[in-house]
Amino acid sequence: MRHHLILRVITKLLIGTIMLFALYVQFHGDYSPGGGFQAGVIMAVAFIIYGIVFSLDDVQRVLPPWVVHKMAAAGVLIYAGTGVYSLFAGYAFLDYAALSPHHPVHGQHYGILLVELGVGVTVTGVMVTIYYAFTSRTPILDDEAW
């Protein structure tokens, strides 16, 4: 447990910053380079680095696998839900103007924020799922066999 003291301390310091940066990339994405894909990966990195430096059990206590699976699917629902809303409001699928009929440019802003939120949630979920899937695999074969 005493291994890698510096690594542990720095990681703890970094995780908050990484998450904050992810949120910045996420929500500033309609003005500057960024958006859901990048933010989702950065957010996932925060969890993955915690898992690598501490342990899989620790990170799974913060973010249990079932939550991650639901996240991956929920993001798609947010994305498609935005589209379905505009569809039932009498606009084309994913026409963001539906979100603010009197001021379509505002609608574009709301729309892109919602959709990118969906993308971000899904990408975070998928990235962490992939990490969990590969690390939580109990080795049936011992390390020597590889």
Partner: protein
């Protein structure tokens, strides 16, 4: 045409890069027996396509296609074409999905077969097939 057209070669730099990367990746997929190496080859192969797309989006003298803060686009400024980049964002996501699915399959193959070398896998599968024939071939045998 000149025997050695330097401008032609340099001017098509991105295509040379594309061809070299693409063929490297393709060769690895075809020639390497290790399943993980095949996936790596596939990744290089796909990266070549990303390079092709991104390089054709470049406009000479163009800058990054981002709206200025006041949202007023100056028609005098040349912008690079952002569309290929967006397309490639999608293709990269597809590539990540393919890679992780391929690796997941390799993990399962390793668990079931105990190897990820193609020649050994083929040997095992041939044995299974021979066993199948021995077990089920009396149909043909009877008639023969």
């Amino acid at each position: 045409m000149q025997a050695f057209d330097w401008d032609f070669i340099v001017g098509h730099m991105n295509y040379w890069l594309f061809i070299v990367l693409m063929m490297t990746g393709f060769y690895i997929v075809v020639a390497k027996g290790n399943l993980v190496k095949k996936i790596v080859g596939l990744n290089i192969f796909q990266t070549a396509v990303f390079m092709l797309y991104i390089s054709i989006g470049k406009v000479t003298g163009g800058t990054a296609p981002i709206f200025p803060l006041d949202m007023e686009v100056d028609p005098a400024v040349t912008y690079s074409n952002p569309l290929p980049h967006v397309l490639i964002l999608t293709a990269i996501v597809v590539g990540v999905a393919t890679t992780s699915l391929g690796l997941a399959l390799i993990v399962r193959i390793r668990e079931e077969y105990g190897t990820i070398e193609e020649d050994e896998l083929l040997k095992i599968e041939k044995e299974i097939a021979l066993q199948d024939i021995r077990q089920h071939s009396e149909v043909i045998g009877e008639r023969g």
